[in-house]
Symmetry: C2
Subunit: 199 residues, 2 copies
DNA sequence: TCCTAAAAACCGACCGGTCGTTATGTTATT
DNA sequence: AATAACATAACGACCGGTCGGTTTTTAGGA
């Protein structure tokens, strides 16, 4: 194994371990020693690759949000019919809901520190805006298709984004895993009945 | 000042300071020394009144949720007409949104630790269920009034609850304070247009 | 191909400081 | 005098980060 391979491999070990621990225990309660132990590397290796514990967190944000964004656009872009697309999207959230404990850990951790750490805020805000735009544009498309009534696209987009995050938040409270994908579909259906143009 | 007064006063100083710091900095980053300093008491006083740092947090959860529940029921119970009541309620959330940074700090802190601490979960889950029921019953009332179409009240209630928390979450990301009460009204209006029975 | 020196990657003991909690002493109320 | 309420200093565990040293890879000449 050459140096490049070795380097990226340990770096990945560290980020994987850090992701898991940050999600499970939170940033503050996660120790560098704990990350190293789980990653199977030493502190020396850790600080060779990262400047600080915070630096790992910052580096991870980009990865997380990029993954989320990729998933989102994958699901939504293939929507010819916007209302149908939204319902499909809701259904495809099921696996995310099933791993809710993990994702919610990350999500909450990110949100918490966005409100407390300016660097985190900067790293989060731009992708977040794009999420907003994605939803807004989706509504615009729907209006253009004539499938959605003439509402303010920004408001409706915000409604959808809020519903998603809110429902996600609720799901984390429940212990037994219900069919949240279905639940989300039902919610969107209710909203759609209002958004759909009526003749 | 007699002993009882003195006791409750210092206890209140401690809980007030703790609330502020927990909301601002989070549980882990809040130090007992910091709480004591802000409360103007000594560590001795702190540990005379509370068993541990966690105990203060646990004690505060009840207070927070009770306050939230009181506010919520105050706003919703005077609703003769459910759709109107919902819109009113949304408007009355404005002051909450204005103090968003503070409330969101508490909210996120509570949610985070609900997913990580069984005691916190136990303290949170019961009031949360009541929130759910409040919204569900609101929808039921609306259906009974004939003002809301025949949807599953639990789903619709969850929709409203998710929207509330989700929108609240969004608001915390924005630096400039917009008129979030209005925004929430708009969202609810969109949903209502779907929930309202159409002739 | 083999040897070697430099560079990269990694190790782990250790340090300075912090933090929750406690033990002991002091003041105010009963 | 007895007890409740509070103050202060100290303890011990822990944690992020450092530093001197070791191992592994790389590069280049013989």
């Amino acid at each position: 194994m050459n140096n490049q391979q070795r380097s990226t491999q340990t770096k990945n070990s560290i980020t994987d371990a850090a992701t898991l621990l940050f999600a499970r225990d939170g940033f503050e309660s996660t120790t560098v020693a704990g990350i190293c132990e789980r990653a199977g590397v030493s502190k020396g290796a850790f600080y060779y690759h990262f400047e600080s514990k915070e630096a790992v967190f910052l580096a991870l944000i980009d990865t997380w949000l990029a993954t989320l964004e990729r998933t989102l656009t994958e699901v939504t872009f293939q929507a010819e019919n916007v209302p149908e697309g939204l319902l499909e999207m809701a259904g495809m959230m099921q696996p995310v809901f099933e791993n809710n404990r993990f994702f919610m850990g990350l999500f909450l951790e990110l949100w918490t520190h966005t409100n407390r750490n300016e660097k985190v805020r900067q790293a989060t805000i731009t992708p977040y805006r794009r999420f907003q735009d994605t939803f807004t544009n989706l509504i615009k498309d729907g209006i253009g298709q004539g499938a959605i009534s003439d509402v303010d696209p920004e408001i409706a987009g915000q409604l959808l984004l809020s519903l998603s995050s809110g429902l996600f938040l609720q799901a984390s409270l429940e212990n037994e895993q219900e069919n949240w994908g279905k639940k989300m579909q039902d919610c969107i259906q209710i909203i759609l009945d209002g958004l759909k143009r009526r003749n």
